[in-house]
C-alpha cells in the first residue's frame, strides 16, 4: 500500500518521501545485504522504486522497439522455417514487453504512463535498436550478438533484489538464450554457404560489433547510476566487467565462424586471460542515445503511428465494454 502512496508523490501527496528515516533505510539495506527479495508490498526507498521503474520500463520499451528491426525481415525470410523461427522470436519479444510492463506495474506505475513516456521521448530504450537491419545476415547478427549481450546483462538480473523483476528475468533469459543459439546457427549457415552469403555475414558483424559492445552502457567511470544500483543489488556486475565477459566469449565464436571481428587492436592477453580491444566510439553512443542514430526517428514514428492508428480501435473496445456492462446491469 505504501508504494501506491508514493506513486502519487509527484501529484502533491503528504510528503511520503520525507518519511524515509535513517532507520528505515538501514533496515532496507540490511534486507538487501541478507539477499532477501524485496516484494511489491514491502517498504522501499523512493529512489529504489524510481530506479527500478526506469530500468524495467526501459527494458520493456526495448523489447517493443526491438520488434521493428527484426520485423523488417519477417516478410522476406528466405525459408518457411526461418520465417517461423523469426516470427516466434518477435512474438517472444512482445511477450517479454508485456511481462516486464506488468513487473513495473507492481511498483505503482501504469502501462499507459510508461508507454506515454516512451512515445513522448521521455523514456529511453536500448540504443542497439536504432541501427538498421540491411540484410538477412543482420537477423543472425542480432540473435548472436544482441541477444548474446542482452543475456550477459540479464543473467545477473535473475538475482536482482526486486522479486518481480528477478522472476521475470528467469523466464526472459531462458527464451533469450534460445534466440541467441538460433542467431548463431543462422550465421553458421551463411558462413558455410556461398561466398556472397559469407560476405553478408561479415558485413553484418562489421556493422553490429561496436553497437553490441555499446549495449553494456558507458564505461564504469562515467556510468551515473551504477554505484547505487550495485549497493541495492539491482546490478551485480559493472558495465565494463560484463562487456569484457561478452568479448571474451564472443571472439572465439566469431573465429569458429571464420569471421573477423572489426577491431585491429583486438589481442588476447595471456596473463590476464582477457581480450584487449580498441576504445569504443562513445560519441556515437551518446549521439544515438540523444536521438541521433540512423533509425531513431523511424522507430519512434512507427511506434507512434501504431498508437495513433489504433486509437479508434481501443476506443471502440472501451465503448463496447461499457455498453455490455450497462446492458447486464439493466438485465
Amino acid at each position: 500500500m505504501y508504494t501506491q502512496g508514493l506513486d502519487q508523490s509527484g501529484k502533491g501527496d503528504p510528503g511520503a518521501r520525507g518519511e524515509e528515516t535513517a532507520a528505515q533505510l538501514d533496515v532496507f539495506q540490511a534486507r538487501i545485504d541478507a539477499e532477501e527479495k524485496i516484494e511489491a508490498k514491502d517498504w522501499m526507498p523512493e529512489a529504489y522504486r524510481r530506479t527500478l521503474i526506469r530500468q524495467i520500463s526501459q527494458h520493456a520499451h526495448s523489447e517493443i522497439i526491438g520488434m521493428q528491426p527484426e520485423g523488417n525481415w519477417l516478410t522476406r525470410a528466405p525459408t518457411l522455417k526461418r520465417k517461423a523461427i523469426l516470427l516466434a522470436k518477435v512474438q517472444d519479444e512482445a511477450g517479454h514487453g508485456l511481462y516486464l510492463y506488468s513487473a513495473a506495474e507492481t511498483l505503482g506505475v501504469s502501462r499507459d504512463e510508461m508507454v506515454g513516456d516512451l512515445l513522448s521521448g521521455k523514456a529511453k530504450y536500448s540504443s542497439i535498436f536504432n541501427y538498421p537491419t540491411l540484410t538477412w545476415a543482420d537477423i543472425g547478427a542480432i540473435g548472436w550478438l544482441v541477444d548474446g549481450a542482452a543475456i550477459m546483462n540479464q543473467i545477473p538480473l535473475c538475482r536482482c533484489s526486486y522479486g518481480p523483476y528477478s522472476r521475470a528475468m528467469v523466464r526472459v533469459c531462458k527464451e533469450e538464450s534460445f534466440h541467441q543459439r538460433q542467431g548463431y546457427e543462422l550465421m553458421l549457415t551463411l558462413c558455410r554457404g556461398t561466398a556472397e552469403q559469407k560476405a553478408m555475414a561479415q558485413d553484418a558483424l562489421n556493422r553490429f560489433w561496436w553497437p553490441a559492445l555499446m549495449m553494456f552502457g558507458p564505461n564504469d567511470a562515467s556510468s551515473s547510476h551504477s554505484a547505487q544500483s550495485m549497493a541495492w543489488k539491482i546490478k551485480r556486475f559493472s558495465n565494463d566487467e560484463l562487456r569484457q565477459k561478452f568479448i571474451d566469449v564472443t571472439v572465439p565464436q566469431a573465429e569458429f565462424l571464420g569471421l573477423t571481428v572489426p577491431d585491429d587492436k583486438l589481442t588476447f592477453n595471456k596473463e590476464s586471460g582477457h581480450y584487449e580491444h580498441s576504445d569504443i566510439d562513445w560519441q556515437e553512443f551518446f549521439d544515438v542515445i540523444a536521438g541521433n542514430g540512423p533509425c531513431n526517428k523511424q522507430r519512434m514514428a512507427k511506434r507512434r503511428k501504431a498508437q495513433d492508428d489504433g486509437a479508434w480501435v481501443r476506443e471502440a473496445a472501451r465503448a463496447h465494454a461499457e455498453k455490455k456492462a450497462a446492458r447486464s446491469a439493466a438485465a
Binding site: 528466405p78 518457411l80 516470427l87 554457404g193 479508434w312 465503448a319 463496447h320
Partner: protein, 252 residues
Amino acid sequence: MSNRAIPATYATRLGDNALVLGQRMIELVAASPELEEELANANFSLDYIGQARMFYTYAAECEGGGRTEDDFAFLRPEHEYRNLLLVEQPNGHFGDSTVRALLFESWYVLLLESLTQCADEGIAAIAARAIKEVRYHLRHSSQWLVRLGDGTEESHARVQASLDKLWCFTGEMFVADELDDAMLNEFNGPDLAAIELQWQKNVAAFVAEAKLEQPDDQWMASGGKQGKHTEHFGFLLAEMQHLQRVYPGAEW
C-alpha cells in the same frame, strides 16, 4: 488426375490460403493497436505459416518428386498460386483485417471440419490439427467484429465499410471447380454447397450481433482458385520470394 495428384493439388491450395494470409498478417507485426493484439497477431500468423508448411510438405510427399515446402512457397510464380482472392487483399486498417479474418475463418473452420472426415488420411490429420487453431482465431476475429460494430459510431462506420468492401470476395469460396468435385466425389471431401448454407447462417449471426448490415447480393470476384489474382498479389510474392530469387540455389 491420378489418385495421388488430387490430394497433392488440394493440399497445395490449402497451403496457399494459409501462407498468403499468414504473410499478410506478418506485415502487421509491430503495428497493432494494443500489445495484447500484437501477441495474438504473431501467434495466429505463426499458426498459418505452420499449416502452410504441413500442407506443402504433404503435397510434396503425395507428388513424390522431391519438392520441399520452400519450393512451393518461394519458387512458384503468381499464376501457380491457388489461394482465394480474399486472403491476398491488403491489410487496410484494423477493421479491414478483422473482417477479412472473420469471413475467411468462418469458411475455413467449416472446410477443415469436413476435411477431418475425408478419405485422405494425410489431409484429414492436418485438418484435425489446424481446426483447433482456427476455431480459436475465429473466436478472436468474431469478438472483434462485435466490439467494432457495437463500439463507437466511428468504429461501426469503419467496420461496416470493411464488410461492404470485402464481401465481393466471399463468393469464390463456394464455387466448386474440378478439383473440389474430385475431392468431394473420390475422397469424401467438403460439399461446398452445404458449407455455404452453414457459413451464411453463422456469418449472419456474427453480423447481427455486431449490429452491422449484411451487404446485399452482388457481383462476386473470382479467379484465385484458377491462379488469376488481384494486382496486390504480385507484390506480396515479390517481397516474400526476394532472397530465393536473388540467390538461386543457396541454403539458408
